[in-house]
Symmetry: C2
Subunit: 234 residues, 2 copies
DNA sequence: ACGTTAATTCACTAGTGAGTGAATGAAAGG
DNA sequence: CCTTTCATTCACTCACTAGTGAATTAACGT
């Protein structure tokens, strides 16, 4: 593996030290949760990765679930702010006349850029998110809690771009979009093998190039002008 | 919860009994793995669910991973056969002139029907598969091992339907399709809350109604007639 | 009926997991 | 300097995990 154990440079200030240690813990946890999921990681694994005693994690976080939440939340606020801003900007720029592809670009490309340029941490976070999104138990609820506002903002724009389209169609369209995005962020390497090396899981640029247009066309197709306008007679 | 512990009717024949027990174990494991993933389930959980001693599982399966593989494999062969046949049939029917949507319907609708009508077991299996598909470690490899042939058959048809389309575009398109499908099978309930009850995670029919057309339009859009025919001048 | 074989449980082991409360050590601050 | 505060480790606990090998029980063939 690339990075197995990082040096722990002792920081001066007390508050600084504290913040640094917490960040290291979250980084390590993020890395491991991304690879093995919540139950596939022990607090000892996390502690070993940064060379501290495992009970130190209990000192900073009430319990394992709290740590998981902290990991998830840390970057969620960042991506949410960026995306929300991108959607707002786009809405303003188009003076309330957005296109589907434009809205999707604000939503997708903004994020893909982040994962592409944000370094290993962001990529780990993405993989972790993909697992959460596909976890029925508490996963979906976590997604709700953290991402509903931005998603609903996107939906709003999509509605504007598709006037007269049945709401269900828009929600199902979003469902397809998010499924595709999550699998991208999971970076499982499956597409690499499947395509014989032609496509690379890590290639966010390739996804960015195609995804918004692909999905926009899908929306256009399932959102026919006026959806089922009271079906009369059989 | 709906079914917590099923009665274990003792079967007559020895081979029959054996087969039945194994099936019960796999059912229980499937149910639990779908909910909590590999590491979130203990052999005792599985055993308790059907009222047997947990070491009985070690009697029938070498270890936990073997059990997991068995659960995964049991239904994989069924869906693979159905899908392969559907693709072959469609290819024959169209005399080698498939459409993208037709090929996708053979691939997607066939499976969605199965999950819709196959009962709780199939639905659990789907949720489990979604988690596997988004698990970077051994998950992707498992998908490769079990599903590559059918997927490559689909890709073949898509290539025929989109002559002159760059291969990468087709693979990325498939990637989007499978991501969307996996999230559907995960049945996390997220879309229910998001849409305020307008859409239901369990509603495979709604997905079937939209998915193939949605994705076909996507393919049509990213697979422009001839992809990047040596880009001359800027 | 009887010895054989297979299914199932039992008694254990060796190791791991999360978490707690006390002990240690090092900086901060007056 | 001396005390207080905080970060970190230590020594434990309690519950649980996967897995093993022997014991038990029930069906099978003869």
């Amino acid at each position: 593996m690339a990075s197995e154990k990082k040096a722990r440079p002792k920081r001066s200030g007390r508050a600084e030290q504290r913040a640094e240690t917490i960040d290291q813990i979250i980084d390590a946890a993020e890395y491991l949760f991304a690879k093995n999921g919540f139950y596939g990681v022990t607090l000892k694994d996390v502690a070993n990765r940064i060379g501290v005693h495992h009970t130190l994690i209990n000192y900073y976080f009430d319990d394992k679930k709290t740590l998981f939440e902290a990991v998830f939340a840390r970057r969620a606020v960042v991506t949410n702010e960026r995306r929300m801003k991108a959607l707002d900007d786009y809405d303003r720029e188009t003076r309330g006349k957005p296109t589907v592809e434009g809205a999707l670009r604000a939503f997708l490309d903004t994020d893909l850029d982040l994962y592409q340029t944000g370094g290993e941490g962001w990529r780990n976070y993405g993989a972790m998110g993909a697992q959460v999104a596909n976890t029925p138990q508490w996963g979906a609820a976590m997604m709700d809690r953290h991402f509903d506002p931005v998603v609903l903002r996107l939906i709003e724009l999509l509605k504007k771009a598709l006037p007269g389209c049945a709401e269900e169609d828009i929600f199902w369209g979003y469902h397809f979009v998010t499924g595709a995005l999550m699998l991208t962020l999971a970076r499982t390497g499956r597409i690499d093998k499947l395509s014989g090396g032609l496509c690379k899981s890590e290639d966010y640029a390739a996804v960015k190039e195609r995804m918004a247009a692909f999905m926009a066309a899908g929306f256009a197709t399932i959102c026919t002008p006026k959806k089922r306008p009271t079906p009369r007679a059989k």
